[in-house]
Symmetry: C2
Subunit: 231 residues, 2 copies
């Protein structure tokens, strides 16, 4: 029986896009289902086995990173990336060496637990002071990642892998910078990350998974245009 | 060359104890170094390569779950558990099946990102209303875990594994309940979790890694005795 894979995503969210990148790299056929997080229809709730079988997480927790594989619901993009790599073993996204794997996992956690919360704050804050502080913290975390990247082409080395996928949010930051005119990730300050994201968006797989810059930019303007970020 | 392993822990923190459980299960020899999180000595900062090589996290982020293996620093107990299982492959702590592995990882994340923050709040809150709400949320999350445990002996099935180690905090909750006289995890409400933690504390490996109940209880009293929890 062929694998039945459904990805429940939100087009503008990098969480679901991470899963998409891994599925495309592995050549796994999947059906994409767009979720409307803020207006969940009763039928979505009823027929989406993810919401029935795992603790339902309302926005902003439900981030569009749920997957269904042969009837088995999965949630949390970082967990799903591990699952995909263990289930379809060709084109591995993890390094082989346990220590390198641990480093990749550590930095992916860092991105989700340290970087992402301050990025959210920097994007959505209504108060200028709070917003300035959040941008400052964003820069601090990006500096840490810039120095982890070193002179490598990708976090994964010569080719991209798990941590590059986890770090996709940095591409989003660049798009938000263009759209809102705010220096989230200034090129002069983060030359390595800038080149890195350039390599990623030119990659055949990533190209299909990053939303069109204009569309995502327009979304950022509509959603965050009135926040302190754009003043 | 024999493996050189150092565990930098805090005696009362379950984060470092998770690592200890895995090391003992694997029979890995290690040196235990007690960290004083709130009074880091200059020499600790200087000679602890973990703090030099990975972004330093001050309290409450530095949770006593750092390890050094043959000169390689590691941080974050859940990441270290994966590393230990990949480095010393006997007595595996993860299930074999990728879907079971994904479930275990999902619930471990749930414990750290959902359960632990409300437990912290329930323990430390100075306001009665806030504290009551935090206890309510703690119960909700414990109900979810109780129904995930089902009728199994351990989360890992017939024997304990990764998720049981991650869920150790529940033992801490039971000790806090005794010490502070607050119903964090009432027996009648959580019969399965109660039996589960009883099995764990009687286990030869866990017995060595859970601090003496009186000592941990006294710590809870000293630290949280003046909070709303104990009124």
């Amino acid at each position: 029986m062929a694998d039945q894979v459904q990805l429940f995503g939100v087009w503008g969210s990098f969480f679901g896009r991470r899963v998409e990148v891994a599925l495309r790299l592995k050549g796994v056929q999947f059906e994409y289902v767009e979720e409307d997080l803020y207006n969940k229809s009763p039928s979505l709730l009823k027929y989406n086995p993810v919401h029935k079988k795992i603790p339902q997480r309302g926005p902003p927790d439900t981030r569009g990173d749920n997957m269904l594989h042969n009837g088995n619901p999965l949630a949390e993009s970082l967990v799903i990336l591990e699952y995909i790599d263990e289930t379809w073993k060709h084109n591995p996204i993890f390094p082989k060496d346990p220590y390198e794997r641990a480093r990749a996992r550590f930095w992916a956690k860092f991105i989700d637990e340290k970087l992402w919360p301050v990025v959210r704050k920097a994007l959505g804050s209504k108060e200028e002071k709070e917003q300035r502080e959040a941008i400052g913290e964003t820069h601090e975390h990006l500096e840490t990642l810039e120095s982890e990247l070193k002179e490598k082409k990708f976090f994964g080395g010569e080719s991209w892998g798990y941590l590059d996928i986890a770090a996709m949010v940095i591409i989003w930051l660049g798009i938000a910078q263009e759209a809102l005119g705010v220096e989230f990730i200034p090129k002069e300050k983060f030359p390595r990350l800038h080149k890195w994201q350039q390599r990623l968006v030119e990659d055949a797989v990533f190209k299909e998974c990053v939303p069109p810059r204009e569309k995502l930019g327009a979304f950022f303007k509509a959603r965050f245009g009135s926040s302190a970020a754009s003043k």
